[in-house]
Subunit: 283 residues, 2 copies
């Protein structure tokens, strides 16, 4: 049984809390306002809540930081004085190089040996602990991106926790994680927001009756939290920019084929995409 | 009870056939190869199949053309000599101005008074009659785009059939339909194909483990039939091109905000999209 503290009890933090309790750990949610967190006890998400962090952190074995990546630096500086030397700390942020940089900056320039940057590839377009669910991580990948500074025992500890809740753990460098996620997550998010906005600005009142499951699927992500995604876009700026430029180039080629009426080229592009879709691992 | 002939028994044609039988009509599937269609009888999709079209068409009250829009002109020329004067004909193609043009071209330049261009906003990324399902059109919109040449009684007849299977009928001009669908369907399809291709070409073997429900949702449409979509892209070329250009412009603005690290601008863009997403009608 580990004493786990979750700071930032959102969808991911809340779902992890539920699962960690289920496998026998004790979970305390720390926040600025214990009254706002209190319902999480009744919902069975956590054992306790606290707005006085020091006592909770003092007995923590594991601290999970579930806040937006833009808040990590400030948060880490705040918790650092209260962390026992034995406590391992991990996060669940969607970008990793920025997290490594920000946590190091909060700690005088060097990444703490007990900090294990992490990112569970799970979630929905919803947010908040009320949207948390049990079993969210079963069969999902969790990426850990330890650096040369990270204590391998801390990495193993965090990996074991994730495995207890059914996740597969994959270790990557922060940079490789960020390039991959720019493509698999951050770019798709930008595409959904952009499509949704274009729809909103089109100004044909019949449009709402003309959307099918395709459009719904392609804009579902537009329901996601703008502040979280602002943070992610800024934190993974270089890689996201690269992915966006490549995408625009490809889309420009497709548009040129449409303009030229080049059916052969279009069929080839679409066929290659369909073939790639078939090669995706089964859900 | 109407005698209905479906030519092109795919997902849409097959699903409509199922529903029309359910409400009491008799449905015959006509194709080039009756042996390939025969399983549709056993699956309960149609009452009969035929590769000798003349006798089936001779007794038809309603003919539904379920073929890709690129094949309509040739198909219409082929069925025209066998159509009774009283039979109404409709199609289910994703573009409408091109269908009006092609059917008129097959009929000496003038749209037949008994032809009612139609488009059910329903479907999945699957294809073929084996993927057809009952109730696909319940609560969905079906757009009819009659022109000044169309007999209003023919439009009413086709509208009534769709309403019998639970659809809401919306009348639009072919042009308004095509502009709207470029945005709500054809553009999203292009975005999905392009994202899927970019993923396939990225060449990081860890990528397949790093996809979540977001990426799955944004590439689901990439499983769609390349030939059908080639036809749609070409048939709605002008409107699709416009939608693509507008999209690239918007995405370029977003990319510029990412490059500039303009968090305020990004939050505003994402927030506007989220607000628009909330205004979508409930599913």
């Amino acid at each position: 049984m580990a004493e786990v503290v979750v700071i930032g009890l959102g969808l991911i933090g809340g779902s992890l809390a539920r699962d960690l309790r289920r496998v026998g750990h004790r979970v305390t949610a720390c926040g600025r306002d214990a009254a706002k967190l209190a319902p999480a006890i009744e919902l069975g998400i956590v054992d306790a809540v606290a707005d006085d962090w020091a006592p909770a952190l003092a007995i923590a074995d594991v601290v999970v930081l579930g806040v937006p990546v833009g808040s990590l630096r400030e948060l880490y500086a705040r918790i650092r004085p209260h962390l026992p030397a034995t406590a391992v700390v991990t996060d669940v942020g969607s970008t990793k190089a920025s997290v490594v940089r920000d946590v190091a900056a909060a700690c005088g320039g060097r990444l703490p040996t007990q900090f294990v940057p992490g990112h569970p590839i799970a979630g929905t377009e919803q947010s908040g602990f009320a949207a948390s669910v049990e079993g969210l991580f079963a069969g999902r990948t969790v990426v850990l991106t330890p650096t040369a500074d990270t204590d391998p025992a801390a990495t193993a500890r965090v990996a074991a926790l994730w495995q207890e809740v059914g996740a597969r753990v994959l270790e990557l460098t922060p940079e490789r994680h960020d390039a991959a996620l720019a493509l698999t997550s951050h770019l798709p998010q930008m595409l959904a927001y952009t499509l949704m906005e274009q729809f909103a600005d089109a100004g044909d009142d019949a449009l709402a009756q003309l959307i099918g499951s395709g459009f719904r699927g392609m804009t579902r992500l537009a329901g996601s939290d703008p502040v979280m995604w602002r943070d992610v876009a800024l934190a993974n700026r270089a890689q996201l920019s690269l992915a966006l430029r490549r995408y625009m180039e490809r889309l420009g080629e497709l548009a040129a084929a449409v303009d030229a009426g080049d059916g052969k080229r279009l069929e080839k592009l679409f066929g290659a995409a369909q073939a790639a879709h078939r090669r995706l691992p089964p859900v």
